[in-house]
Each structure stands twice: as C-alpha cells, then as structure tokens.
C-alpha cells in the first residue's frame, strides 16, 4: 500500500489546483528547449498535450498508428462536451459538475482530480472556440447547450452529433501549428511496442514502422501515453476496430499499475448487432435521449409494428422506474434497465435484444425540422446502417461496450507508478470512478491534454534539466528492442490455421457473456478458464501470412490480440475481487430488492491498483483508499 502516493495537494478542495500551480517547480524557457517529451496517441489528450508543450518550448515527438493524427478515435465522440459556464442561468457551477461526476461515478473517483477536471472545463470551451471549433449557436450568436444523462442542468456544448470530430480537428489544427513551428515532430503509422525504463525512469519507446516494418528506438526525458481505452476487449464495441490497449499494457508490464480494469461503461444507445460478421457497433449519441423516449411493449412478444402499438400498451420503463430523471438517467442505469426488459422477454426486433427509442412525440411537438437540426447526421447514419427511417418509426437500440473508466493508475500530476511515465485522457483511470457521465470524456481529454499535464509535467522535468539527450544505444534500449523482435518472431512462426480476428471475436464473446453488463462469481471463474484455454489455442493455431518487413495488418492485429488476452485476465480478476456493485460494475450477488446496484462502502471505498508480478504470476493488489471530504456518500438514486 505504501507504494501509492496520490500526491494530492493540501488545502481546501477548491484551492488545491490553484495552490499546486502556484507552488510547483518550473522549468525556464531556455531549459525547455533542451528537453524532449514523447507522446503516444494523437487524440484530443495527446495532440492537445503536444500542442501545449510545444507552445511552451519543449521538443515533442508524437506517435500514432493511423496514417494521420486527425483519425484518432476522439473523432467519433458524438454528443458533446461539458463545461460549467452556467450560460443557461440554471445554477451550474464547478461544484455542481464535480458533485454530478462524483455521484455519477458512484463514489469511486478521487475527489481532488474530479474537482480539477470540472475547474478547467470552462477554459477548454474558451480554447476550442478560439481555435475555430464551430460549436452550435443560438440565434443571438451565443453558444448553445443541451442536457445529458445524470444531470439536471444544461451544460453540454455540441456541434450537431459530431462534437468529437470538431474538437479533434481543432486539436489537430493546433498540433499542425506546432509541427510547422518545428517544436513537434509527428511519427504517423507507428505502433508503440514497448516502453524503455532506465534507472527506474521512463526514457523512451520502441516502435514498429507499419509501412516498412522497421523497429525503431526513440528516447526522451519523459513519456506520455494518450492511447485511449480498451473497450475492444468485447470485440464488438463502439470503438474504432483498431483501438487497442497494447501501449498501456506494455507500460503495465514495465511497472505501471493498472487501476479498476473492470470498470467498463456499456453505452445504452447503440445500433443492435445485425449479423454474425459484424465488426463493430455504431453508437447513437446519448443526446438523443433529450428528445427520444425509450419503451418496450407492455405485453411479452407483442409482434405488432411499433407504430401500431397504442400509448396504453407501451411501457416507458425509464420514465416509470426513474421519474426524476426519466430517459436521462446515467448510462449504467439505462443499460441495465434495457437488459432487464430484454432478459424478461419484452425486447423488440428479430433477436429480442433491442428496445425502442422513439421520436414521435418530439417531432409532433417541435416539428421535423427542429429534430433534424439537432440530430440530422445521427438519423442519417442510423438509416444507412439499418435501412429504417427514424423520422417515421422508432430506432431500435441496445447497449454496447463503450468507454473504460479503468486504466493506468496516475497520481494528481497524472504520473503513473513509473517515474517520468504519464497517462492522460481515457488511458488513465482518474476522473470517472465506476461510471462516466456523458460529455465528460471530451472534457477530460482536453483538460488533461491542454491544461493539466502541461502544468504538472514541469514538476518532474525540472529535475531533468541536467540530463543530457538520452542515447538510444543504452543496453535498456537494446534489451527492449530484442524482446519486441522476439515476440514478433514468435507470432510469425506459429503458422497455424486461424486469423487473429477470429480469436478476438471469441475472446470478446467470453468477456461480454461473463464480464459485461452483469457479472457473478461463477461466471467470472468460468471466464478465467475459457480465456486461458483460448489463449493457449491462440499461441498454437494463429496464422500470420507475409513477412515482418512490409505492411502486415495481420501481424499488427495478432500482437494486439495477444495483449488483450492478458488484460482480459486482469479485468476478470478485478471484477472477482470487487465484491460489491457500483456504477458499471454490477455483481448479481450484490443488489437491492428492486435490482439497483448495492455498494459496500465499508470494504470497497478504494481504487484497486494492480501490479504486474511477472508472467504467469497472480497480480498484486494495491489499494488507494478514497476519502470523501466534500461529498457525503449516499445511495445513488435517480428516482
């Protein structure tokens, strides 16, 4: 336990960040020019951090596996980004956003980090607007907002259903400005395959050039991972199909603790699976729940067309169960409620694994044009995928794996347990507890990248001003490169029969069935057995055609799937360890009589941070006890 120092500054909650900034060590501009920082990932957090550090004068090297930084998966965030501007005069404040996030996260997040995330949210909106991000505006020319789940104020800024795209492209533009200036160098089509640790400090990375296959060494004074989440552990998820946790996993194996891996958000409104070949599930933004009403028929197996089912035969189950928040309950609650109805036999569609999201009433009241203005691109997307027109009949939706609240453990300065190794955005665990509220991932990514990391990393780098450029000839680089090559050779040499994707799909099903929306001890233990068997089969029967020294997408995929097996085991172990239900983690053994999550604050008010103990060894649990000084822990109720 002694290993975890969260380094939360002293003083009252509302003054911690101000005090930190006022007292932290700094690096003078002349010295910044001598220091190098590696950033892995070009989403909003990574590209934001690269921009801000470049502006300060650091030398930044940034890497992505895509062909361009503009394609990072932040691009796919839809509904919006939160800030506490209180433009609606509806009692919003930093404290209220902080409170909503702590409650929404089911009291499993660190107060100081969450408060800071809320505190910098307004700066994020100012900055994006200045960068030319075309947020939605009112007729008077001021910025518009809308409501999201789990809150009672309207604080979500948006750009139709493409807020993530617009924020990412804004960030990409600020990154480009630094690339032009020469402070940032971009390395696209590179995959990070290991972290190099020298004398206990992160000093570089090993990458594979995805065009030539070349294994490259890159050194720096500090390394920042901005590599996103691990929702692809379910195979079918709302993530980009190439999104992967390999970078974070390599960091874990080099000493970075992994926190709360089993906290995975299942998003309630995704297009249901249509066929067995499906490669991903497409999200329909939570913002749709502002105007759409969710329902299933009151009678089991009602085969009438949705439009033919009269009002009195419809069960608007969210409005029924949660009158205070209605259709805008948080994601975990909405997902479980959908699963409950479908499991009980009330689901719609051919599979019975779907519920209706109906815009009939909203269109009647506001007109088709108003609805089109708010959600036009989402409606088009839905029609493209399903062939169904949501203007004239309800959408069918079902929950899908989406966002990972868990991730690398970081302290207040966003540093992992490896000195000099940072983790920002979705790749860390820090701000969302056991459940993330809508429109707070863009907020956190931009906050971490632009405003927090660039103010905390100086504290570490101030001690590095005498450290010369790190040589990539050091034995630690040699060794890391060797192990990367050995592993690639091993994957290539199996020469079995199956492709990596087939294994991924089967692993995903194990995880979804046993460690998805609800979990129990027997199922989790079964999952461990199944994962181990599949992993063994993988290392015996994988086939990767082609060679290493060229574009080889099968090889890329194989490496990621190999890592997913290991992470899956840790995830299940974490879910087994946490004998309570909280947020997205629902253990069937621990629920209230009416089926709500039942926390066990006495025993589990802690962050579970897992240490890698070596291949084949059980991971070691470290506990960061959570103290709630500002907020009283309550039963989370949206009724």
């Amino acid at each position: 336990m002694g290993k975890l120092d969260s380094k939360i500054p002293d003083g009252p909650l509302a003054q911690k960040w101000t005090r930190f900034k006022a007292t932290t060590k700094l690096v003078n501009p002349a010295n910044k020019k001598k220091l190098e920082v590696i950033i892995v990932g070009t989403g909003i957090s990574g590209a934001g951090a690269a921009s801000a550090l470049g502006e300060q004068g650091y030398n930044v090297k940034i890497f992505c596996y895509q062909d361009s930084p503009r394609r990072a998966h932040s691009v796919a965030a839809q509904g919006g980004i939160n800030a506490t501007k209180n433009y609606q005069n509806d009692n919003d404040s930093t404290y209220r956003l902080f409170y909503d996030m702590i409650k929404g996260g089911d009291y499993r997040a660190r107060e100081a980090n969450v408060y800071r995330a809320a505190e910098v949210s307004n700066q994020v909106i100012d900055h994006f607007t200045a960068l030319g991000v075309p947020f939605a505006r009112d007729y008077g020319g001021t910025l518009d907002t809308r409501s999201f789940g789990g809150v009672q104020v309207s604080r979500t800024f948006y750009a139709k259903g493409q807020t993530g795209q617009q924020c990412l492209l804004g960030t990409y533009s600020s990154l480009n400005r630094q690339i032009k200036k020469g402070s940032v160098t971009i390395f696209p089509r590179r995959e990070m395959l290991d972290i190099v640790v020298i004398d206990g400090k992160a000093r570089g990375i090993i990458t594979r050039n995805l065009i030539t296959g070349e294994i490259e060494r890159h050194s720096a004074h500090a390394v920042v991972l901005a590599t996103g989440g691990y929702g692809t552990i379910y195979y079918l998820s709302t993530l980009a199909v190439n999104s992967n946790p390999s970078a974070a996993w390599k960091a874990h194996k080099k000493g970075a603790f992994f926190a709360n891996p089993s906290f995975i958000q299942i998003h309630p409104t995704s297009v249901p699976q249509l066929n067995e070949f499906q490669s991903k599930l497409t999200l329909m933004s939570e913002s749709l729940r502002n105007d759409g009403r969710i329902w299933v028929p009151k009678t089991k197996g009602d085969k009438r067309h949705a439009n033919d089912i009269p009002e009195e035969d419809r069960d608007y189950y969210l409005e029924r169960r949660y009158p205070a928040f209605g259709n805008l309950v948080p994601r975990d609650v909405a997902s479980r409620a959908a699963k409950e109805r479908c499991d009980a036999g009330y689901g719609v569609g051919e599979t019975g694994l779907a519920v209706n999201l109906d815009f009939r009433d909203a269109i009647k009241k506001q007109g088709k044009k108003a609805i089109e203005g708010k959600y036009g691109n989402l409606f088009d997307m839905y029609r493209n995928i399903t062939g169904i027109d949501p203007y004239t009949q309800p959408m069918r939706i079902y929950p899908a794996g989406h966002y990972t609240m868990g991730g690398l453990w970081v302290d207040y300065e966003l540093m992992t347990t490896v000195p000099g190794l940072y983790s920002i955005g979705e790749s860390n665990f820090s701000d969302h507890g056991a459940n993330r509220l809508g429109a707070s991932s863009l907020m956190q990514a931009a906050g971490d990248g632009y405003f927090i990391l660039p103010n905390t990393i100086n504290n570490y780098l101030s001690d590095e001003i005498r450290t010369a450029k790190i040589s990539t000839d050091k034995p630690e680089f040699e060794e890391a490169e060797k192990s990367v090559r050995e592993r690639l050779d091993r994957l290539m040499s199996i020469k079995g029969k199956q492709n990596a994707g087939s294994f991924h799909k089967r692993l995903g099903k194990i995880m979804w069935d046993h460690c998805g929306m609800s979990r129990n001890e027997a199922g989790l233990k079964e999952a461990l057995k199944l994962i181990a068997e599949l992993k063994e089969e993988f290392w015996k029967d994988l086939n990767v055609p082609g060679t290493q020294n060229e574009v080889n997408q099968e090889l890329e995929k194989a490496g990621r799937v190999a890592d997913l097996f290991e992470l899956a085991e840790l995830l299940v172990n974490d879910a087994l360890n946490r004998k309570e239900s909280c947020g997205a983690h629902f253990r069937e053994e621990f629920q209230t009589p009416d089926g709500e999550a039942l926390r066990n604050d006495e025993e589990f008010t802690y962050v579970a941070a897992w240490e890698f103990a070596g291949e084949g060894k059980a991971p070691i649990l470290h506990k960061e006890e959570l103290k709630f000084e500002e907020v009283e822990m309550k039963v989370r109720s949206y009724k």
């Binding site: 502006e55 895509q66 361009s68 930084p69 503009r70 394609r71 998966h73 796919a76 501007k85 433009y87 307004n122 700066q123 909106i125 100012d126 900055h127 607007t129 200045a130 960068l131 030319g132 075309p134 505006r137 009112d138 008077g140 020319g141 910025l143 139709k160 493409q162 993530g164 795209q165 617009q166 533009s173 600020s174 480009n176 690339i179 971009i186 696209p188 980009a240 199909v241 190439n242 249509l274 066929n275 070949f277 490669s279 497409t282 997307m381 493209n384 995928i385 062939g387 405003f451 020469k495 492709n499 994707g501 087939s502 086939n543 990767v544 082609g546 060229e550 574009v551 997408q553 099968e554």
Partner: protein
C-alpha cells in the same frame, strides 16, 4: 448472394500491381462492404495467402481512414456515405465488383488498397490553423457569431480528409478539401486575422505537392461522402484573390 471481386493487388509502392479475381459466396446483404472484405481476408489467412491490405478504423463514417474505388466510384455507388457505411444490400447476386485504390499522383500506393495521403496533412500544416496559444483564449461568448455563419462554417468543417474528392477529380485537384478548411475559418471572426496568410500558404503547398487545378467539373462534390459544397471552392477563390 454470390459475388466476383476484382481487387487491385500491389505488393508495395515500387511493385507493378494487377487485378486479381476472388469468388465470394454466401455474402449476406446485411454485411457492410468492409465486413465482406474481412470475410475474404479471413479465408485468405486460413489458406495461408496474404490478405488484402486496406485502411480502415472507426467504421462509422467519421475518421476518414477508409476509401477505395468501387465500381468506378470513390466509396462506391451510393452517394453521401463512406466505404465503411456501404451496405452489401446495394449489390446484386452474381455481380462483379471492381475494387481499386485512390488513383492520384499525390497519393502514391503503399500496398494493395492503401495509399499515402500525407500530402493532405502537409497542406494543413502549412496554414490550416488559428494561431492561439493554450490559455490565451478570450471568454467563449465574447465572440458572437451569427448562427447562419456558424452553421455554414460547421458544414464546411465536417470534411473527414478521406481524399475521395482528389480521387474523383480528373485533374487530381485538392480544391474541395482545401476550400473546406479555408471556409471554416473564413466564416468565423476568429479566423479572419490570419486569413490572407492562411490561404496563400495552403494553396502554395497544395500546388507544390502536385495536386491539379480545378476545372469546375464538380465530380468532387458529387462523390464527397460528407457533401461538402462546391460553393466552398468559390469562397476559396475569393479569399485567395483578396489575399494579394
């Protein structure tokens, strides 16, 4: 349904490519086009043959990674969608489908259907930004922008940088792509301060990279999966004219 695929295979940038024929049986009309290619690749790996390389990522039409010529159209024959959103229900049993990479000099082939679109990034690096340092932004509502202008800026800003416009153009012109970014910034007051430098830098870079001229054919607009309008090119020309 059963389909015949004619796919462009090319080992690397230097190699000479050619079409290869693959028979795909039992394709479900509910599959997405890329899922059909996934199924082909699965089979190829099981037969120990090299799978078809193609760029793809989000598979929800927003990242701009995917892009291939399908039966003579960038992103296939259905308007206003990306390749990843193309459903197999638009094809007929027994059909032959021709699949090619983008063909444009500034986008050299890397392998099979993957091309190098880094020229697009270079144009953005040349001037596709507003110079504002982190922390120095004014209060967001201090800048009021008429909703009409803001909406038009958004309509231009939805470009995903896939390159279909260049691939569709007989001159391999990048004018629609460049005009989308120019318009997004030109229509908002934040972007005006650097408008002249921006348009000059981006157009100069575009020309340097070997993109062709615009001859107002409109193929780019017709094929753009995000329906970026040709009127943006008119705005780019006006901005460029004003910049001297």
């Amino acid at each position: 349904m059963n389909l015949t695929l004619k796919i462009w295979r090319q080992k690397n940038a230097e190699a000479k490519g050619s079409f290869e024929t693959y028979q795909m049986n039992n394709v479900s009309p509910e599959m997405a086009f890329l899922e059909m290619l996934d199924a082909l690749n699965k089979r190829l790996v099981e037969e120990d043959r090299e799978p078809v390389a193609f760029d793809h990522d989000c598979r929800e039409g927003i990242c701009g990674s995917c892009g291939m010529y399908i039966n003579g159209h960038p992103h296939g024959p259905i308007p206003a969608i990306t390749t990843c959103h193309l459903s197999m229900r638009y094809f007929k049993d027994g059909e032959t489908i021709w699949i090619e990479p983008w063909r444009a000099k500034p986008f050299p082939v890397i392998k099979d259907l993957i091309v190098d679109r880094s020229a697009f990034d270079k144009i953005q690096v040349a001037g596709g930004f507003i110079s504002v340092n982190t922390g120095s932004a004014p209060e967001a509502n201090a800048i009021r922008i008429p909703k009409k202008d803001s909406d038009s800026a958004f309509d231009a800003a939805v470009c995903i940088g896939c390159g279909a416009c260049v691939a569709a153009c007989k001159n391999a012109s990048a004018m629609l792509f460049v005009s989308a970014k120019i318009s997004q910034f030109a229509l908002q007051p934040q972007g005006r301060a650097e408008a002249r430098d921006r348009v000059r830098a981006m157009v100069t870079e575009m020309d340097k990279l070997g993109f062709g001229s615009c001859s107002n054919t409109g193929a780019c607009e017709a094929e753009c999966p995000k329906q970026i309008k040709l009127t943006n090119i008119a705005r780019l020309n006006r901005e460029f004219y004003k910049a001297f």
